[in-house]
Every structure is written in C-alpha cells, then in structure tokens.
C-alpha cells in the first residue's frame, strides 16, 4: 500500500535562498546607475520567474475557487436551515396526529372488545378487520414519520450557525449524524461496519467534524461501484484519537494520491467539486490533527483522521 502523509503548507513550499523576484530586484539594484536602460537577465532566472508567476496564478485560482465554494456552502447552509425549519412545522402536526391515531385505535379496540357478544356480529367483524388494517398502516406511518424527524434533526444540527463553538463532543455521535445524512448514498448497496473503540470526548465543533466525516463517507460510497463495505473504526492511540474510514472501492492510483488534497477530482462534472478533501484537511489541521490516506487500486482506501485529545485551537 502506498502511504502518503498529508502535508502542511510549510512543507509544500520548497525554498531556495532567494526567490526569483528577489534576484531580479537585486539585479535591478546592481545596474541602476548604468546609462543603458537594459539589464542583462540570465535565461534561467527568466524561466524561474515565469514558473513562480505561474505558481502564484495557480494559488490564486485555487484560493478563488475555495472562496466561491465556501460562499456556496454558507448559502447552502442557510438554505438548509430554512428548509429544515419549514419541514419541521408540518411534520410536527403529522407526527402528533399519528400518535393520536394510535391511541384512538387502541380505544376503539377496547370499546369493541368490551362488547364481547357483538363479536359474533358480521358487521363488527368487518369493522375489526378495517381497524386492524388501519393500525398496520398507522404503524408504517409512525416509522416513516420518525425517519423524517430524524433526518430533519440531523439537518438542523448540521447547519446550526450559532453553534460554531468548541464543545466536548462524542465523536461517535458525530459519526452517526453523518451516517444519517449519507444514508441515501449508502442504503441497500453498501454495508457499514462499525468498530467503535473506547475513545474520550474531544473538544471541538461537532458540526465541523460531522461535516468532515460526511465527506469521507460519501467519498467512500462513490469509490465503491455496486456493492461494497465501509468500515468505520475509532480507537485511542497514545495521546491521540484515530478515526478510520475504509472502503472496498476502486482505490486511488499512486500518481493521484499526491493530488487528492488539492484541487483535484476524478469524478465526472457535476458530481463533486474536488475541494472536499482540501477543506476537510484545513478543518482537521485547525484542531492540530491530520488526515492521512492509504490506498491500493482494486482493493480500497483507508482515510485516517488523527485528532489530539487536547487540540489547542479550533475556533473558526
């Protein structure tokens, strides 16, 4: 398995003594008193300047894309909070009514049972059959409605803007919240196997971490074509907590492993923006943690998040 450590911004910039622009400035300074308006600039220096300018351009483009993505996500977050609220109100009525239906059917049943001799009556037997059917359907409604309530709650928790604060978080709850939201991508096709260890609570913003987990789970589900499995493992490793998401998907070829934490995607246009892992990495790094990946083509990938049990920062 190819192992690649995630890099910090510092490690990514490899420095020579002087930057090309500094060298050019130095040349300009050296020749400034000469009569001629021209300065001899070595070919190599020109090439280095062009490369630097190109890199800066790329950085700028990436930053702009990130900004756009962040803005999009902020708008989406606001919209989702509004939608969750809109859903909650009618769902409240339905949920309450379903409960009342259950109670009412119980009462009808009791009333009918209390008149034992009427059980012989054909009409009453028919009525009991209808009641039984209604009870069954109401049971389905109850389950369906509590599903809606569950999703709505997850959405609402996920988008709560006023809770970007540090909190002692049960990471397993954050994982479960992410799984609720990812359910659609996973159901039927993919088996989720949990190996939850004994890990302490972690001071962090639960929404942010839930978002990171959601991203990893969705990526895992997209990597799996057809049926497959996702393993979610948590355990304590000395002073750190580790969360691993392993999939049995198609894997990441070594030449791509380098790039996945940058602006990079192999998904078709319209599916994913290629920025998910970059943002995830930034979030985790804010908690003084790291994301690492191991992968083998044709076998699957494992993303490992490491979080110190006492992250220093985390505030956005």
């Amino acid at each position: 398995m190819t192992k690649l450590k995630s890099r910090t911004a510092e490690q990514m910039t490899n420095h020579v003594e002087k930057t090309p622009l500094e060298e050019l400035a130095h040349l300009v300074e050296k020749h400034k008193d000469e009569a001629s308006q021209e300065i001899p600039v070595p070919q190599q220096l020109i090439e280095r300047i062009l490369t630097a300018a190109h890199e800066t351009d790329e950085h700028l483009q990436r930053a702009q894309k990130q900004l756009m993505q962040s803005e999009k996500m902020a708008t989406l977050g606001q919209m989702m909070a509004g939608i969750a609220h809109e859903i909650n109100t009618p769902v409240a009525s339905i949920n309450s009514n379903i409960g009342l239906f259950t109670r009412s059917f119980e009462k009808i049943r009791m009333l009918m049972d209390s008149k034992k001799m009427l059980k012989e009556d054909r009409q009453n037997r028919q009525m009991m059959r209808i009641i039984t059917t209604l009870e069954k359907l109401n049971h389905v409604n109850t389950t369906a409605c509590s599903r809606i309530v569950q999703i709505s709650r997850s959405l609402r928790d996920f988008t709560r803007v006023d809770e970007m604060e540090l909190r002692e978080t049960d990471l397993h709850e954050a994982l479960e919240s992410a799984l609720v939201l990812a359910h659609h991508e996973i159901k039927r096709r993919i088996e989720v196997i949990r190996e939850y260890g004994d890990i302490p609570k972690c001071p962090c913003c639960p929404n942010q971490l839930s978002g990171v987990f959601l991203n990893l789970i969705i990526n895992a589900s997209h990597a799996i074509e057809g049926k497959g499995k996702i393993f979610i493992k948590t355990f304590k490793d000395e002073d750190a907590i580790k969360i691993q998401v392993t999939d049995t998907g198609k894997g990441i070829p070594p030449e791509h492993l380098e790039k996945i934490f940058g602006v990079f995607t192999t998904k078709p246009p319209g599916k994913g923006t290629g920025l998910g892992l970059l943002i995830c990495q930034q979030i985790i790094e804010k908690y003084n943690g790291k994301i690492e990946v191991e992968s083998e083509v044709g076998v699957g990938s494992t993303f490992t998040i490491t979080l110190p049990t006492q992250p220093k920062s985390g505030q956005n």
Binding site: A92, S96, N97, R160
Partner: protein, 147 residues
C-alpha cells in the same frame, strides 16, 4: 391534584394545522379547558377575561405580536401563569432571552413528542398549583413574580 375546576390551557400558534393537532391532543388525552388562538390579538383579549393556568405559544407570529412579547404581557397580567414556548425555530440567542426575560417554564422544539409534551404540561400545572397555594398563604409576593 385538588378537586378544583379544570385547568385552563391557552395555545397560540399561527399554523392552523398545529393548532388543530394540539387541540385534538389535549382534548382526547386530558380534561383541560383549552383556549386555542391563531393570532396574538385574540389571545390578548382572552387573557383579560380568563384565568390562564398554562400557556403554550409559538415564538414567531409574523405580522403580529411575537410569542415572547405576548408572554411578557401574560406575565404582567397573570404572574402565576406557566409560560411555555413550542417552536420550530431554534435560535440560541432568543432561547436565552426567552428563558431570562419571560421566566419560561420550558422551551420545546417542533416536532414534539406527544407523551413528553403532556408530561411537561402536567409538571407545569403542578408547579402552578404550588405557586397559587404559596401566594394564597402569602409566602409569595405577586410583585416579585411580575419581575
């Protein structure tokens, strides 16, 4: 519970469906006297003439006096009433404001659980009975309650 007249519960929500559901719930599961309103105006008139044991109010009432302000008025007029908010909004700032300013008994979110809601109302009414007793034997000062 003492053998007194029924408790009066006021519900205020501009969503007619929610009002119907709450009304049906209280009607079928309790013996409370229920006053249901879709506008703060009507509810304000009611609290002039009726003694309210417990009020369940939605926080936001667009185009109308909002839930918190209604409860503040109720607190002034009937300081021993039990005040509750039941809402789909979950705005922390306003929760804190509500609990502090209004002297809220409970802040509940929609969708609610029927059994939990009924239990909370029961608790609220127990507290109400206690408060009234204490006021009657003059341990509690009405002006203290208004603050």
């Amino acid at each position: 519970m003492e053998d007194k007249a029924k408790y009066t519960v006021l519900i205020l929500d501009d969503e007619p469906n929610v009002l119907t559901s709450l009304n049906a719930l209280l009607d079928s599961e309790t013996d409370y006297n229920v006053l249901a309103f879709a506008s703060s105006q009507e509810a304000l008139e009611a609290i002039q003439t009726h003694e309210i044991d417990l009020a369940i109010v939605d926080y936001l009432m667009p185009g109308d006096l909002n839930g918190i302000d209604f409860l503040l008025t109720l607190k002034q007029k009937q300081p021993f009433s039990i005040r509750m908010i039941l809402t789909a909004y979950a705005d922390k700032e306003n929760v804190i404001k509500a609990i502090n300013e209004v002297g809220l008994f409970k802040y509940l979110e929609k969708p609610w659980n029927n059994a939990d809601l009924l239990e909370t109302i029961r608790e609220g009414l127990e507290k109400r009975a206690l408060l009234k007793q204490l006021a009657e034997i003059q341990i509690l000062d009405v002006n203290e309650m208004k603050r």
